[in-house]
Symmetry: C2
Subunit: 508 residues, 2 copies
């Protein structure tokens, strides 16, 4: 802030030629030494330098369009003088440099996690009760409930709990279709997520999603941390409950035989989410999370950006950051798939700023998408994955998911995410098991209103806290939560109703 | 059965010219006085009279195709001599007589139910906690759990319990699309189902499914049996839990102020379901349920047949039974919608007998569909409804739903079903709240295997119990369960995970 009397404003990047009004600007006020020429509503942009006609306008250090006429310092920048369509970008894609800023090993941050037999690292240690179909959902819940009530878990302090992972699908679907593939991958991803120590899978028996075939696909064998049962084979609900509880009882000592140990932050896989965005998302919590991601990537870790519909129309933002042509091709084919998919479903891909977005100060699709993409920071894009595919790269990656929070996060957790950060402006109540979720408020009033649900307030960025400092705070919180400190949504008990595999294709 | 030594067989209707082998027939055996000419596998058909080339073959009292060559009595009837494609049906549709067999009022059966203020009749009295979106699912569960644990319900013996009705949708959807319409109707249907005495609806606040707009659509006002809350407005999870529990506490005395009274069976609305069908479904449990439906319709009640994909290709079975042209048109337009919908989703509508069906003795699509439709009995079709539309006709009606059990039943309960009958061959573990579900086993081995889940064994039809007698048994059980006797799935505690609104359209 310039002075106590100047209205609050934000410079999102040193190279920007605009600043954002936090409070509205009135003509005659001084902002960064520039005299305000027009009234600038809150959330809108003011030119901090002269911008020639045709010259790029920069926000987030990125081009959001070009001036459609000469813009003088102090003028309001919006639809009347900023244009996206004039601006055609020649992407020299797929050759961004690999992360050069990787810290030397001894300087890397660590967390206290669970080292798994396969070398991966967990931040939690749950028993998962997977279900092949909705028809076994109640039995899975009954088993989890019976285990919870039995007191059995009291004997195993290294077990975080038991999660019934129930859903509405699994039958009356095309077993050769992509919806079935997605469900198979999602189940496999949960079964192997490093935050799960042992798995019981419960089916009905006659469903389309056949547990036997699924086990064959992934070479899963029944062992002391994986068991499966079907209600029809065991002989009904009560017997399956008993058999399920017995299976959990058998697996518990094995699953509990772990202890937190020091593990480099490079083993963290952070899922990035936003939901209930507001006008502040793109300028507070998202860039702050982006700064935390840049730190995590420097420390060798992985972050998963998702929500394909929210980058649609501005996908070159990511394509330009791709370190390899495979990632570019994959992202382009995902965009093409969505165009076909939504057309088939009589919907439109449209991420253009809405009238509400424009009133809030977002002028172009690039600017809007940059706000969403800001949570991924500035690192090169190393790989692109399909929904629920196992993520194996380090650094920043993209996973194709819908924007809808529980569906998107379910894909990321299936991909292997062991910690999750979620920015929200309106106030999301999301929480997840087995992956702890850290909720970042974009503004102080909502943070105060929902303080028992929010982990970190990023609204104070509007009051002068730097994005870098907030990024550091988020990074440190990620390490703490990964080490076992409960997030707010964990304290509240979230995660039993948020497993929502992406449903693609017709239910027959 | 003819004699102790004759293999078991079934005559499904007096006018049939085939009988079904329960045990396989060997050449030389005598069945109904006819000498078996060929080996007839179990489940397959034997000609009980001469059938001329081109003459209709009748099973269930219905035409299932025509003889492609002369069939002698005692011959096996299957693909080699029975043809559907030769057979073109000229439907004189839409003019079936209205139910003439309606019993005089004094002879009508009754049940002990709850008379609602709007005149409708409930068979249960639940508190429903509806959710606009997955983002409020956990809070709805927390509220229901807190109410259950509080002991509050102990004071109200006329309350059957509290149900969190959670789901995976409600946001990132096209609010002008049919998926949104379906969700709106489903929620409205549950809110007004006569088995629910009071409703709390919980939302997040920023979701696509706006509770305020939904209330306007249906002229819902907040009153002493309907309350709504959003997490964002109330200020987070814990406060919303407290406010939710307080709202339930307020509504409980009003919702509990009911008493079972004698109500005519004409107020029953029976949802018909089948899931996990086997070779016996079409010859035991389904026709027996059909006989019960015929009784219910005689007593003035309503039965809802559904599962559109299972009648596809043989829809004229229903069209011919329609009592009015509107029903015919609606059914035809539903069939056309499904053809378009599945094509758009790269799937095929195909209800033809599979190789497995054929091996089991089902020769034509008509025969297969008749097995599914058999559970609707023989009454005229009075009306056709879209998914989750309020059912207002009496007699037999059809509601468009997928075949998938939880999704189909959710539509029927939203339509107003206050009791449900579910036939199953493989052994379904389905159960529902607020609508009690009666499970009918098609065969004795499965009944014995899952006896704690099955309400009635229809497998004994294979041992000589008549379909009429079994229909009477089912009808009487429906009356008993409607009067408060718990079904098996209610005893087991099912119904908290089976609310699965039909999801149509893309998740964005
Ligand atoms: Ca594991
Ligand atoms: Ca978002
Ligand atoms: Ca989202
Ligand atoms: Ca069926
Ligand atoms: Ca079904």
């Amino acid at each position: 802030m310039d002075t106590l009397t100047a209205p609050r404003h934000l410079r999102l990047h040193a190279s920007d030629n605009v600043v954002v009004a936090v409070d509205s600007f009135q003509a005659g006020q001084k902002i960064e030494g520039v005299t305000v020429a027009d009234r600038v509503p809150r959330g809108h942009k003011l030119a901090s330098r002269v911008i020639a006609e045709g010259e790029p306008v920069r926000k987030f250090g990125q081009i959001i369009g070009s001036a459609s006429k000469l813009i003088e310092p102090g003028q309001w920048v919006h639809e009347h003088n900023l244009n996206y369509s004039d601006f055609v970008r020649e992407a020299d894609a797929g050759h961004a440099p690999h992360g050069s800023g990787l810290l030397p090993l001894p300087q890397r941050a660590t967390f206290e996690g669970f080292r798994r037999a396969n070398g991966r690292a967990g931040t939690r240690n749950y028993i998962g009760v997977l279900t092949s179909v909705n028809c076994s959902a109640s039995v899975a819940r009954f088993i989890a409930e019976a285990v919870r009530k039995s007191g059995l878990l009291d004997e195993y302090p290294t077990i975080d709990g038991i999660i019934p992972l129930v859903h509405g699908g699994g039958c009356a679907m095309d077993t050769n279709g992509e919806g079935y593939e997605v469900l198979k991958r999602t189940q496999w991803g949960y079964a192997t997520n490093p935050n799960i120590g042992a798995v019981l899978m419960v089916g009905l028996g006659c469903e389309a999603f056949q547990i036997g075939r699924w086990k064959e696909t992934y070479n899963i064998v029944e062992n002391d941390t994986f068991r499966s049962l079907t209600i029809q084979e065991v002989g009904g609900t009560r017997k399956t409950m008993e058999a399920g509880v017995a299976a959990v009882r058998d697996m518990l000592p094995v699953a509990a035989n772990v202890r937190r140990e020091t593990i480099p932050a490079s083993e963290l896989m952070l899922a990035l989410q936003c939901g209930g965005s507001d006008g502040y998302s793109g300028i507070t919590a998202n860039p702050a999370l982006g700064a935390a991601v840049d730190l995590l990537v420097k420390h060798g870790g992985t972050a998963i950006l998702s929500e394909t519909p929210e980058i649609y129309g501005a996908e070159h933002l990511l394509i330009e950051r791709a370190s390899n042509p495979q990632a570019v091709e994959r992202l382009q084919s995902i965009i093409a798939w969505w165009e076909d998919y939504t057309a088939r479903n009589k919907m439109e891909m449209n991420n253009n700023p809405s009238p509400g977005n424009k009133a809030g100060g977002l002028t172009t699709i690039l600017e809007k998408s940059l706000g969403a993409v800001a949570k991924s920071g500035t690192s090169p894009l190393e790989a692109v994955y399909g929904y629920a595919e196992p993520v194996t790269s380090h650094g920043l990656v993209f996973m194709d998911t819908p924007g809808y929070d529980p569906v998107s996060a379910t894909g990321q957790v299936a991909g292997g995410a062991n910690v999750l950060a979620f920015t929200t402006g309106r106030g999301s109540a999301y929480g997840c098991k087995p992956t702890p979720s850290i909720k970042l408020a974009t503004n102080t009033p909502m943070y105060n209103q929902m303080i028992e649900d929010m982990d970190i307030n990023c609204g104070d960025i509007l009051d002068g806290v730097s994005i870098e400092a907030k990024g550091q705070e988020i990074f440190e919180r990620v390490l703490k939560v990964a080490s076992g400190a409960p997030s707010k949504s964990e304290q509240l008990g979230y995660g039993d109703a948020e497993f929502v595999p992406w449903q693609i294709g017709a239910t027959m």
